[in-house]
Amino acid sequence: MDTFLQLTVSGLSTGMIYALAAVGFVVIYKASDVINFAQGDLLLFGTYLIFFSIVQLNLPWTVGIMLTLLIAVAMGLLIERVVLRPLIGEPIISMIMVTIGLSSVLRALANALWGPQPRTFPSFLPDGVISIGTAVVGFDRVLAIPLGLALLVLLGFFFRRTRDGIAMRAIADDQQAALSMGISIPRVFAIAWAIAAVTAAIGGMMLGNIVGVSQSVAAIGLRVFPVVILGGLDSIGGAVLGGVIIGLLEVYTGGYIGHGLNLIVPYFVLIIMLMVRPYGLFGKPIIERV
């Protein structure tokens, strides 16, 4: 029972960390039906940027965080301008592939700027653990939960209620019609990429605190792929729920079975669930009206 409690608590916190890393995927998907393979590298930049601000520039924490978010926004805008904008109107697969290219470029850039050596920064979240019954979990990890929920609420509101949120979903459906409404695709894409970069920066900062500043942060981007698929590619709530489910699955398999099965069991469960709900838990179905 103790084990179960401990695993559940860890699984939940890991799941929320995944969710934090995953919302960026969802935002990009919502605006363009594209899976962003560079999301992991945006996370990586989040991690390195906070390192850069705090350690290299020696800024106080609050300023450092602001600067990180600011640079993240700038990066999002730049990526949109240079890489995505020329592809407006091209098939989805081109946009997806371009993010694979982008990922490689960003990785190289991070490497050129900060080198391959893992780094650390003084932890900016209070150290220590929180006990829940017999289970313990690091405070830094728990923080992912309120952060994740806050993003869920904010982005949920943005997509349902605001003009630009609706415009974003409109673009994903039909770029030409969106243009004819006077929606500026570049502007909306820019907003989407800025949001994605900011959520990635937040996730990256958390991860930097948890796993250290190293290239391995980018690998988390890929682990999150099943999370968004499970939740439904275009659902923020799905990302959170998917994150929690995958987090729990991983930790239960790791804790009760082992053998590295925790890497693949989520995939089995995922595919079985998808056979029942082909668009994930909350994803939008393809509408085939003829």
Partner: protein
């Protein structure tokens, strides 16, 4: 006086031929001559690259069948190649099967496993189906590294070089002939496939699966068939790697491999056989070229040379981005443009109706 102002076909046979005009046949002839002459002129280093390109071409054509022609993104290329490589390797190693039959087996096994992972296409579409291929990548990798009794686990397999007519194919020069013949056969097979019933049905499923189903195409069956056909050739590429490298290690077949192959077909051109070859060549040659450029700079511009690793990595990404931004149809389209330019040369107008 009358003058023919174009190429007309008066029989269906000539109309459906793969090379429809004399210029095309001439080019093919030239290409064949170059391919035959190449190994006699090239150094082992270039032969090595050529062999890699030929094998990559087979794999890229395989992937293109799934991605380019049937519209299904696959992230499982690496794993499917691993299945081919391990099957071939294990058959030779454990059962002493000669390379010929064991390559065939390897292709069939890969094909079966590819089909298995294509099963979710019964329900899943688009990116949701892509997860099935990612799952394939992860699951197959896990099985290979954990099924120690059969695959040797994380240790590499040592596969003897194949024998052809009593000659051991253990040099680049000898192997060249084998891979070039198989790569050509793959290309020809695929070209044929896509000018006939099955291939058209693949394309139909990609473009509009509802319409495909109402004209009588069993969409699920053809999706599976696409997985099967694609993985067959991917398995072939894997098996060839096993025999060429003589060592099969799972580290060669990771997700990164899958992304490399995706890059090949994007840069080369989706849904194009010629593009698969171009892409395989470019993505294989790119690091080699940059290496050489970098080594020339090593003394003159050490600052640049020291950033070479990052330049390597960035250039892989950049080339994808540049192609997508400036020529989304890839090298095969560039080639087409060049041809169009010369088609009616010296007159500067182009054919009205393009073939795709």
């Amino acid at each position: 006086m009358t003058m023919e102002c174009g190429v007309f076909h008066t029989t269906y046979t000539s109309d459906i031929a793969l090379r429809r005009v004399p210029a095309e046949r001439l080019r093919l002839g030239l290409f064949v001559i170059v391919v035959i002459a190449f190994p006699f002129l090239a150094s082992p280093y270039w032969l090595n690259l050529a062999n890699q390109i030929a094998i990559a071409t087979v794999g890229a054509i395989g992937l293109n069948i799934l991605v380019g022609y049937t519209g299904q993104i696959s992230l499982g290329q690496g794993a499917f190649m691993a299945v081919g490589a391990y099957t071939a390797g294990l058959l030779t190693l454990n059962f002493g099967l000669p390379w010929g039959p064991s390559i065939v087996f390897a292709c069939l096994v890969t094909s079966a496993i590819g089909t298995f992972f294509g099963m979710p296409s019964l329900r899943l579409k688009g990116l949701y189906l892509a997860i099935a291929t990612l799952a394939a990548q992860e699951i197959i990798e896990w099985v290979i590294t954990h099924w120690t009794g059969v695959t040797g686990g994380t240790e590499a397999l040592v596969v003897p070089a194949p024998q052809l007519f009593g000659v051991r194919m253990n040099t680049d020069f000898r192997f060249y002939w084998l891979v070039v013949i198989l790569a050509s056969a793959t290309a020809l097979f695929t070209a044929n496939l896509f000018r006939s019933r099955i291939g058209r049905a693949f394309l139909a499923v990609r473009d509009q699966d509802v319409a495909a189903s109402v004209i009588g195409v069993n969409v699920f069956r053809y999706k599976l068939l696409a997985f099967a056909t694609s993985s067959f050739f991917v398995g072939l590429a894997g098996a060839l790697i096993a025999y060429y490298r003589n060592i099969v290690s799972w580290e060669r077949f990771t997700l990164e491999t899958s992304l490399f192959y995706l890059a090949m077909i994007i840069v080369g051109g989706l849904g194009s056989i010629r593009g698969s070859f171009f892409g395989a060549a470019l993505i294989t040659l790119l690091p080699a070229l940059i290496t050489n450029a970098g080594r020339m700079l090593q003394d003159s511009a050490p600052a640049i040379a020291s950033q070479l690793p990052n330049i390597q990595q960035a250039s892989f990404g950049l080339i994808i981005i540049l192609f997508l931004v400036f020529e989304p149809k890839g090298l095969s389209k560039l080639w087409q443009n060049v041809k169009d330019y010369f088609y009616v040369w010296p007159f500067a107008y182009r054919r009205g109706e393009g073939r795709h």
